[in-house]
C-alpha cells in the first residue's frame, strides 16, 4: 500500500509535533478518512436497521389497523384478537421466570461460591452448552419427551389440587399445556440468567466476603450479607433479560403448546392461550391478505414489549456499571 497523499491542494500544514496526535491528523489522510468513515457508517447502519425494523413493521401493520373488524379472524376486531395472545405470551414467560429465577441464582451460587475452582470452570462450560442447543431441539424434546412424561403429574394435580384455580383441570391428556411450555422456556432461559448471576456474584469485592467470614459468618451468612446485596441489580437485570428471551421464544412454544385461544389461568387443561410468536410462526406460512398484516401487527406488539423489557434490563445494568465506576 502506498503512502497516502494529502488530498487538498493547500500547502501541507506544518504544525509543531507536540500538538499533533494521531486523532488530529487522521482526517487529512485518505486511508484514515475512508476507514473512519466506513466504521462510523457501520455504527450508523446498526441504528438504521433498528429503526427500519420498527418502521417496516409499522408500515406493514397499517392495513390491519384500518381494516374492517369483520374481515379479521374472529370477526370482532383487533383487540379481541391481540389481547388473548398477549395474555398467553406474558403468562408463559412469567411461569418460566418464576421457575428459572430461583434456580439460576442457585446454579450461579453453586458455581461461584460452592464448587471448587476447577470444577466451576467446567461447570460453566456445561451451562454454556445448555445455551448453545437450538430452540427447535428443546421444542422437540418438550413435545415428545417432557409433555408425555408430565401427563400423570397433571392428572394427579387435577384430581387433588383442583381447588387451586391454576390446577382446576380437567387435566390435558397430551401434557401439551401452557405449564409445560413454561417449563421448557425456563430450561431455555436458565443459561443466560445463571451466566449473568454468576458474573455479578463473582464481582463481589473479596474484601467484603473476607470481612464477613472473619467476623465469624458462616458461608450462607456471608452470601446473604455480602454477595446477594451486591448482586441485586445484576440479578434483576438478568431476570429481565431472561424474560425478554422467554417472551420472544417461538418454535419451542409452537411445538410444545397445544393452543385453543382465549383467556385461561388454568395451567394444566387442554385449552390454552397461544403466544404471539408461536401464533405468528404457526399462521404465517399459510396466511394471505390482511391476515399477514395482522400477524405483522402482533409482531410489532411483541417487538415493543421485548424492546421495553430489554431496554429496562440494560438500563439497570448500565446504571450498575456507572456506580461501580464511581466506587472503584
Amino acid at each position: 500500500m502506498s503512502t497516502p497523499t494529502p488530498t487538498t491542494g493547500l500547502v501541507p500544514e506544518v504544525t509543531p509535533p507536540p500538538t499533533r496526535g494521531p486523532s488530529q491528523s487522521a482526517p487529512t489522510r485518505l486511508g484514515d478518512r475512508l476507514f473512519s468513515g466506513l466504521s462510523t457508517g457501520a455504527g450508523v447502519l446498526i441504528l438504521i436497521v433498528l429503526a427500519a425494523v420498527a418502521l417496516f413493521l409499522i408500515t406493514q401493520s397499517i392495513p390491519a389497523l384500518t381494516a374492517d373488524p369483520r374481515e379479521l379472524p374472529g370477526g370482532t376486531g383487533l383487540v379481541d384478537y391481540v389481547a388473548p395472545l398477549l395474555f398467553g405470551t406474558v403468562l408463559a414467560a412469567v411461569i418460566a421466570l418464576l421457575i428459572a429465577t430461583p434456580l439460576s441464582i442457585g446454579i450461579a451460587l453453586f458455581i461461584s461460591h460452592y464448587a471448587n475452582r476447577r470444577l466451576a470452570r467446567s461447570l460453566g462450560y456445561v451451562i454454556d452448552l445448555l445455551a448453545a442447543i437450538p430452540s427447535i431441539i428443546y421444542g422437540a424434546w418438550g413435545y415428545l419427551v417432557l409433555a408425555p412424561y408430565l401427563v400423570p403429574t397433571y392428572r394427579w394435580l387435577g384430581e387433588h389440587a383442583s381447588f387451586l384455580p391454576v390446577f382446576a383441570g380437567p387435566a390435558s391428556s397430551t401434557g401439551r399445556t401452557i405449564l409445560t411450555a413454561g417449563i421448557v422456556l425456563a430450561v431455555m432461559i436458565l443459561p443466560i440468567m445463571s451466566a449473568i448471576n454468576r458474573e455479578v456474584f463473582l464481582q463481589t469485592p473479596t474484601l467484603h466476603e473476607e470481612a464477613s467470614l472473619a467476623l465469624g459468618a458462616t458461608r450462607w451468612e456471608m452470601i446473604r450479607m455480602a454477595v446477594l446485596p451486591y448482586g441485586r441489580s445484576g440479578m434483576v437485570s438478568g431476570a429481565m433479560l431472561g424474560l425478554g428471551r422467554a417472551l420472544g421464544e417461538t418454535i419451542a412454544v409452537l411445538l410444545v403448546l397445544s393452543s385453543s385461544g382465549g383467556f385461561s389461568l388454568n395451567l394444566i387443561s387442554q385449552s390454552n392461550p397461544s403466544t404471539i410468536p408461536a401464533n405468528i410462526a404457526g399462521q404465517f406460512p399459510e396466511a394471505t391478505g390482511v391476515n399477514v398484516n395482522l400477524l405483522v401487527l402482533t409482531g410489532l406488539v411483541l417487538f415493543v414489549l421485548t424492546f421495553a423489557v430489554n431496554f429496562a434490563a440494560r438500563a439497570v445494568l448500565a446504571r450498575r456499571a456507572d456506580f461501580d465506576g464511581a466506587a472503584g
Binding site: S36, S39, G43, V53, L57, P134, I137, I280, V309
Partner: protein, 360 residues
C-alpha cells in the same frame, strides 16, 4: 449457644485439646449416612406409592434436607443448620438443572442415531413418501443461508466494533453501544418479520427466498459479532497502538496491521459462536425462506430448505407414514446439534490455540 462455662485445666499454656469447645462440627460421615437414610426412605415410598425416578430423586432430596437441618440444628446450632440447608438446596438446584440437559442430549442422540447414515446426507426428500429420503437439500440450504448471513454480519459487526473502540466518542457511540445491547434481545420471529416486510417492499407480497433468511439471520447475528469483537479490541494494550503511532504509522494502518492481528483469535472465537447461535434459528426461516422438498442452491430464487425448518415440518407434518418422518426429524436435530457443538468446540480451540502467551 453454650451456657456452661467450661473449666480450664490449671497449668501453663493450655493445649489445643483443652481449649473450650464452643463449636462441635458434625462428623464427616453424618451427611453421607443421612443421605443413605433419605434414599432408603424414598425407595420405600416408591415401593408403596409408585412414581418415576424423578419423583424418587425429589423425595430423596426433601427427606435429606429435613434430616440434615434437624440433625445439624441439634448438634451444631441454628446458624450452622441454615448454612447446611442452603448448601444442600444450592447443590440440589444445580443437579436438577443437569437433568434436562442430560435428557435432551440422550433423547436426541438415541433417537437420531438410527437414520444417521450416508443416505441422509446424500438424498433429498424429492418424491419420497414414507421410508428413506434424506436432508441433503436442508444441509446445503442451511450452509448457504448461514454463510450469507456471516458474509453480511462480519464486516458490519467488525467495523462497528472498530468504530466503538477506536473512533466512537460522544452521544452517537453511546447510543450505538446501548442499542446493540438492546438489539441482542430482538426476538428471532421479529427479525423474520422485518426481513419479510423489507422484501415485500422490493419484490412483492408472498416473497420466499434464501437471501431474505440471510438478512433476517444477520439482524440476529450482527450484535453478537459487535459485542464479541468490541470486547476483544478493548483488550489490545494501548501501548501497542502508541508504539505504532510513534513510528509514524497512520491510524487506519495501525488498526489493520497491529490491533486486528492481536485481537484476531478472540474475534474468530466470537464469530464462530455467533454462527453457532444463528445456525439453529427456525422461526425467521419459516417465515421468509419457506420449505421445499428439492435441492435449491440459488438463494435469490425460490424457496429453500434448511435443517431447522426440515426438522420442524418433519415433526409437525409427518404425513401418512409418520414414523419415518419422525425418525428423520430426530436425525436432523442430531445433525444440527452436532454442528452447533462442533462450532462451540472450534471456538474454544481457536481461543486456546491463539491466546496471547502469558495471559493464562
Amino acid at each position: 449457644m453454650t451456657t456452661t462455662a467450661p473449666v480450664r485445666p490449671s497449668g501453663d499454656a493450655p493445649s489445643v485439646d483443652a481449649l473450650p469447645q464452643l463449636f462441635r462440627p458434625l462428623p464427616r460421615w453424618v451427611p453421607y449416612a443421612l443421605g443413605a437414610v433419605a434414599l432408603a426412605v424414598a425407595l420405600l415410598v416408591r415401593a408403596v406409592l409408585g412414581g418415576g425416578p424423578v419423583a424418587t430423586a425429589l423425595v430423596t432430596a426433601l427427606v435429606f434436607l429435613m434430616l440434615v437441618s434437624v440433625v445439624s440444628r441439634r448438634i451444631e446450632g441454628t446458624r450452622r443448620a441454615a448454612d447446611r440447608t442452603v448448601t444442600t438446596v444450592v447443590t440440589a438446584m444445580f443437579l436438577a438443572t443437569l437433568v434436562p440437559l442430560v435428557s435432551v442430549l440422550y433423547t436426541v442422540i438415541s433417537r437420531g442415531i438410527g437414520r444417521f447414515d450416508s443416505e441422509f446426507f446424500t438424498l433429498t426428500m424429492r418424491n419420497v413418501l414414507g421410508e428413506g429420503g434424506g436432508a441433503q437439500h436442508a444441509i446445503v440450504g442451511t450452509l448457504i443461508i448461514t454463510g450469507l448471513a456471516t458474509l453480511i454480519s462480519v464486516p458490519v459487526g467488525l467495523l462497528t466494533a472498530i468504530y466503538l473502540v477506536e473512533y466512537g466518542r460522544g452521544r452517537l457511540a453511546r447510543a450505538v453501544t446501548f442499542l446493540v445491547d438492546v438489539m441482542t434481545g430482538i426476538p428471532s420471529i421479529v427479525a423474520g418479520l422485518f426481513a419479510y416486510a423489507l422484501f415485500v417492499l422490493i419484490v412483492g407480497p408472498g416473497v420466499r427466498f434464501g437471501i431474505g433468511g440471510a438478512v433476517a439471520l444477520s439482524v440476529l447475528m450482527t450484535p453478537v459479532v459487535v459485542r464479541a469483537s468490541e470486547e476483544m479490541l478493548k483488550l489490545v494494550p494501548a501501548e501497542l497502538r502508541e508504539a505504532s503511532y510513534a513510528l509514524g504509522v497512520p491510524k487506519w494502518r495501525t488498526i489493520l496491521k497491529v490491533v486486528l492481528p492481536v485481537a484476531a483469535a478472540g474475534i474468530g472465537t466470537g464469530i464462530t459462536l455467533a454462527i453457532a447461535r444463528v445456525i439453529g434459528e427456525t422461526a425467521p426461516l419459516l417465515l421468509i425462506v419457506g420449505t421445499t422438498d428439492s435441492l435449491n442452491d440459488d438463494p435469490f430464487n425460490g424457496r429453500m430448505e434448511t435443517l431447522p425448518v426440515f426438522t420442524f415440518y418433519s415433526f409437525t407434518q409427518p404425513g401418512s407414514r409418520s414414523e419415518f418422518s419422525i425418525d428423520r426429524a430426530w436425525t436432523a436435530a442430531l445433525v444440527l446439534m452436532v454442528i452447533v457443538l462442533l462450532l462451540n468446540a472450534v471456538a474454544r480451540l481457536i481461543s486456546r490455540a491463539f491466546a496471547p502467551k502469558g495471559s493464562r
